[in-house]
Symmetry: C2
Subunit: 319 residues, 2 copies
C-alpha cells in the first residue's frame, strides 16, 4: 500500500497502483472545482487520474518505474501543479463570498450614507438659513427641506408660508443655485439610501428569514455587521448579542466600575425595546437577544421558518 | 427744545415742534431701509415725518396738544412701531450676509463633501473587492475607480486588464448593480464638489482677490472659514493666521510642553510650503502668513489689487 498527498488530496494505492481510497482536501470544494473546470473551457480538464493510473498499471514495468510514473501523473509538470494550486486557492476565495458578507456591506453602506446625509444636511441648513431662515426653522426633516428647496422657488416658498418679509438675504442667482444643487445632491443620497435598504431587505429575507422576522432587516443587518458573519454570530452567547454595538459603554464600565454596564446595544432600535418601560428594558433586551440568536441558528443551519412564531412569543411575553 | 428717541433714531425739536436735528440709529442702514421700503411696494412708506410734523405745526394748537400729536405721529399706532422695529431688525440681519459668510459655507461644504466621498469610497472599495479585487487593488484614485465601475462591465474590465481568472466572486445581477449604483452616487458627489469649487473660486476672486492671488482660493476659503469672517481675519496677528487649523496641535503643546509647537496650520497645503525643505518650513510659513494677512487687509478695505506683487515677493524670497 502506498499513500500519497498533493494539493488536491490524499490518495491510497495498492501494490498495483490502483487507487483504493482517496480523500480530497475540502471534499465539497474540490468536487465543485472539477465542475467549474469543465464549465470553464479555457482550462483543460486533465485531472482524470484514474484513467492515467489505469494506463500505467496496464504497462508492464518493474515496481520502481511504475511508482515514478504514478508520481509524475499525479504531479504533472511543475507549472501545471502550480496553476492548479492557484486555481484552487482563487476558487476558494471566490466561494468565500457568502450572502452574509454582502449583507454586512449593504448594512454598513446604509449607515455611512446616513452619516453623509447628516453631514451635508447640517451644512445645507446653515447655508440656507442665510436665504430663508424662517423655512429652515420650521421644517425639521432633512428630506422634506431638501425637496422644498429643490422643487420650489424662493418666492413660492415665501408666499406659501405667508412670509412677507424674511430675515434672509436676497442672494444672487449663483448663490441661490449653489444651495439648490447641494440640496439635490442630498436628495440623491436619500434615493441611494432607499435603494440600498430595499436591496438589504431582499438579501436578509432570502439569507436570514428568521432573523428578519424577529429583528427586522435593518437591525438584523447591523447585528450581522457587528458580528462579522452569520457563523460568528451563531457562535456568540446571547449576552454578547444583547450588547453588540454597545462596546464603548461596556469597556467604559469594565475600566471604571462607577459607570453602569450597558443593557443593550444595537437592538435598542427594536420597537419592543422602544415601547418598553425603562425598568423593563434589561429584561426585554435579554429575551430579544435570545430569540435573535435562536433565529440566527435556524438561519445558519437552513432550518424551517419559525421567525413568525418567535416574534409572536416575544410579543405575547411583553404585552 | 425737545429730545425724542424711538426705534428709528433720536429727534430734536424746537418749541414749534420743527425737527431741528435728527440722528438716525445706524445712519447708513436706516437710509437704505427707506430705499428698501420704497422699492418694496407691499409695505407702504408712511414714514415721512417731516411732512406730518409740518401739518401739526401748521395747526393752531396749544403746546401740550401739539406735543401729543407729534408723539403720536412719531410712534404711529403701537402695531406700526412694532412692525417698523421688526422690519429694521430683519433688514439688519438680511444685510449681515456678506460675501465672506458665503465663502465660509462654500469652503466648508467642499470639506464635507470630501469627507462624504472618502467615507463612501472606502465602503465601495471593500464591497467591490468581492467582485474584482484585482481592479480595486490597482486603481488608487477613488474617482477613476468609480468611473471604471460605472462605465465598464465586469467582463470588459477583466479582458482589458488581462485577468483570466479573478479571485472575485460571480455576484448576481442585483448584487453587482448595488455596487454600481453606489459608485455612481459617489461620482455625483465628485460633480457636486467640482461645482462648489468653481463657485468658491468665483466668490473668492470677487470678494478677496488679493488673498486668492497669494494663497489660492481653496486655502483662502479655508482660512476665512477658520477665522469666521474677513473682519476677524484682519484683526488677527499674523502668528495666529499661521496656525489657523492647527488648534489641536497648539493646545496639545500648551498642555504638555513635551510636544512641539506646530509651525503651520491649514497653510501647509500651499505649494510654497509643500516645496520647502523641512527646516525652512517655519520661516516660509511665517512669511506666507504675513502676506496673507496683508492681502486680507487690502481686501477688507477694498484697496487696489496687489496680490500678484505679494505673490512674486514671496516666490523670490524663497527661490
Amino acid at each position: 500500500m502506498y499513500i500519497y498527498s498533493n494539493i488536491l488530496g490524499t490518495f491510497v494505492f495498492n501494490q498495483n497502483f490502483q487507487v483504493r481510497e482517496k480523500v480530497m482536501f475540502s471534499k465539497e470544494d474540490t468536487l465543485k472545482y472539477f465542475e467549474d473546470l469543465f464549465e470553464n473551457k479555457a482550462i483543460k480538464p486533465e485531472l482524470d487520474f484514474e484513467k492515467k493510473f489505469k494506463n500505467i498499471v496496464n504497462l508492464r514495468l518493474n515496481p520502481d518505474d511504475r511508482m515514478d510514473r504514478v508520481f509524475k501523473a499525479l504531479e504533472g509538470t511543475k507549472g501545471e501543479l502550480y496553476s492548479r494550486n492557484l486555481f484552487l486557492t482563487k476558487w476558494q476565495i471566490k466561494k468565500s463570498v457568502q450572502a452574509d458578507l454582502l449583507i454586512t456591506q449593504a448594512s454598513d453602506s446604509i449607515s455611512e450614507i446616513n452619516k453623509a446625509i447628516n453631514l451635508l444636511s447640517k451644512r445645507l441648513r446653515e447655508w440656507y438659513s442665510y436665504s430663508l431662515p424662517e423655512i429652515e426653522n420650521t421644517i425639521d426633516d432633512h428630506k422634506t427641506l431638501c425637496e422644498q428647496i429643490v422643487q420650489k422657488s424662493r418666492k413660492d416658498l415665501m408666499s406659501k408660508n405667508k412670509i412677507d418679509l424674511t430675515m434672509g438675504a436676497e442672494l444672487s442667482d449663483p448663490d441661490e443655485s449653489a444651495i439648490i444643487s447641494l440640496a439635490s445632491s442630498i436628495l440623491d443620497l436619500f434615493k441611494q439610501k432607499d435603494s440600498k435598504e430595499k436591496y438589504l431587505e431582499k438579501l436578509m429575507k432570502k439569507a436570514c428569514p428568521n432573523i428578519t422576522a424577529v429583528a427586522g432587516y435593518l437591525i438584523g443587518g447591523k447585528i450581522l455587521s457587528y458580528a462579522g458573519s452569520l457563523k460568528s454570530l451563531v457562535l456568540m452567547p446571547a449576552s454578547t448579542v444583547q450588547l453588540l454595538g454597545a462596546e464603548k459603554a461596556l469597556f467604559r464600565h469594565m475600566v471604571n466600575n462607577k459607570s453602569r454596564p450597558p443593557k443593550h446595544g444595537i437592538i435598542i432600535e427594536h420597537q419592543l425595546l422602544q415601547k418598553a418601560k425603562k425598568d423593563d428594558r434589561g429584561k426585554v433586551a435579554r429575551s430579544l437577544a435570545d430569540k435573535i440568536l435562536l433565529a440566527a441558528k435556524v438561519d445558519y443551519f437552513k432550518g424551517e421558518f419559525i421567525g413568525d412564531r418567535l416574534k409572536k412569543e416575544l410579543e405575547e411575553k411583553f404585552k
